[in-house]
Amino acid sequence: MAEIQIKNVAKKFGEYQALHDIKLTISDQEFMVLLGASGCGKTTLLRIICGLETATTGEVWIGGRRVDHLPPKDRGIAMVFQNYAVFPHLTVFENIGFGLRMQKLPNEEVTRRVERVAELMHIEMLLKRYSGELSGGQRQRVAVARALAMEPDVILMDEPLSNLDALLRMEMRAELKGVLAESKTTAVYVTHDQVEAMSMADRISVMHKGKIVQAASPIEVYRNPAAEFVAGFIGNPPMNFLQATSTGNGHWTVAGQSFDGPNSDKTLKFAIRPEDMTPSDTGLTATAKVIEPLGAHLLVTCDVDGAMFRAVLDSDTVVKPGDRLTLAPQTDRVRWFDPETTLAVA
């Protein structure tokens, strides 16, 4: 049973500050996804938990034990690497059994556990092969099986699906989620793919420039982004932003329209998801620029008050470039951000 606590962890590579004072608690059996663009520090954080990287300052606790001074092998973790790291000189069986052999488990126990996880990952027919004879997807399965065979408290995964093609990725996503839920281990999963994050996570930590901007459930991150960065990063396409000026008493003018909002006398940003708008008689006036039919719906990129603005409309909507649209935002989905702090304002 392992809860992970990250206490004030910071990491510097020379002059470059990769992580700033990270505080995060991942509860037992939770599936935590670290999500962010490349260079945001998510992999560094994972490697610090793993013990492949040492934090400059701060502490890492796993299962009530301080581990930041321990080598990876003594932390009760297992890791799945982005490029799988399946040992080329060993068979699949010996790859999966590698960690068990290091623990000097008896042969029958190794065989039993290897066969069990191999079955779980549907690779029991590959046990005698070498990694050179496997496809990318099969190698991926071996890497996961090897981690599971350790029966670790915590399983760490560094973009494990990013080298697979789209269809296989979707398949593995569901399978991995099922296997991990069943194994009852705590999981930390690094990805830059927000669909992966949304679909798998119990909780997502959105990271940006070495900080955790928001750590919350997928739907919370989507509906109530804590900061402008999250709003502009999550969602495809992401949220639209427009300048808002206060007219007092919580009333705001956005692109010539009045909206109710937070009681503040600063300038705020008005934000709305592209799918939270419907064409209507009243609302924001938009000039359509580019129309992209996506099958399920229509993505319209338009101009609202000189700013770029996207709307996802029903695919039957008839619109062509240059048309003027009136788009009514769904008022309970409108969010407000303070441009100075970039944080959400209620």
């Binding site: 013990g51 492949l52 990876p72 092998k73 040992f87 000189h89 960690g99 760490l156």
Partner: protein
């Protein structure tokens, strides 16, 4: 060409180009092989034939020259010394060089650039010249005229290469494999012996063979540093003026044989090694 086509010329020029290309390749192969073949003829001919004129262009398969070589005073000892020195050089250069190659491929450390510079400097330096002061140093330490003393100098010659080759070999092993081993219960040492070493062994062998040949072929330092315990190269050099032709050729042939085997054994690694070393 009986087929009537409008552009007969194009295939013809292509054919001609192909012919020129293949003959050029064949010619360049002959350029390398024919001189070695001549040496082979001389080696496998009786001493009388070697000194006669004109020369036959096929060997007569007479072992007279080789027998004379084997019986020549001091020659077999010289051969033994050569093998000994080269063997020691091979072992020392790998044992000393490989850890540095590993450090260069796996760590970023302060002074790394300086260290690389030192390595490259030795490669860009007429190293045999150092044999002169080393001769003095060795007399003071009792290493003069010993097989081991010469092996030390040859190791200096071979070390830049063994560091660079092992550096490129280690760089070819993804660090994730080692990291995976660490997460699976290995220490740094066991991860190295269980994962890196098995993968790298053929390359290490190639690098060792390279060191062997560097020592085997070295003439100047060997001639400067040994007097009684001559290596084959030093012995041949010393007796160039006085020894008969068939002895020179048989000696030369014995020098060349390991080279043929060596290049064959390490051919895969030659290019990988220089590819990285240029970076």
């Amino acid at each position: 060409m009986t087929v009537v086509t409008t552009d007969v010329a194009a295939p013809d020029t292509r054919k001609a180009g192909r012919f020129v290309y293949i003959s050029a390749v064949a010619l360049l192969c002959a350029w390398v092989l024919v001189p070695i073949y001549f040496l082979l003829i001389n080696t496998l001919s009786s001493p009388e034939t070697v000194n006669s004129f004109p020369k036959p262009f096929i060997p007569e398969f007479d072992l007279g020259s080789l027998q004379f070589f084997a019986g020549f005073a001091g020659m077999l000892t010289a051969l033994k010394n050569s093998v000994l020195v080269a063997g020691m050089t091979m072992i020392m250069s790998i044992l000393i060089g490989a850890p540095a190659g590993y450090a260069l491929s796996r760590f970023d450390f302060r002074g790394k650039e300086l260290f690389r510079l030192l390595i490259l400097l030795t490669r860009a330096f007429p190293l045999p010249l150092l044999a002169l002061p080393l001769a003095v140093m060795f007399i003071q330490t009792g290493l003069d005229d010993t097989v081991f003393g010469l092996a030390l100098v040859h190791t200096t010659l071979a070390i830049p290469f063994s560091v660079l080759i092992t550096f490129s070999l280690f760089s070819g092993i993804p660090i994730e494999l080692e990291e995976a081993a660490w997460t699976l219960g290995c220490t740094r040492l066991t991860a190295f012996t269980k994962v890196v070493l098995p993968l790298i062994l053929p390359g290490i062998t190639a690098s060792a063979i390279f060191a062997f040949v560097i020592s085997w072929n070295e003439v100047f330092a060997a001639a400067v540093l040994t007097i009684e315990n001559r290596t084959l190269t030093a012995f041949l050099l010393q007796n160039l003026d006085t020894s008969p032709l068939h002895l020179k050729f048989a000696g030369g042939f014995i020098l060349v044989v390991p080279a043929l085997i060596f290049i064959f054994a390490v051919r895969k690694y030659l290019f990988a090694m220089w590819g990285i070393a240029n970076r």
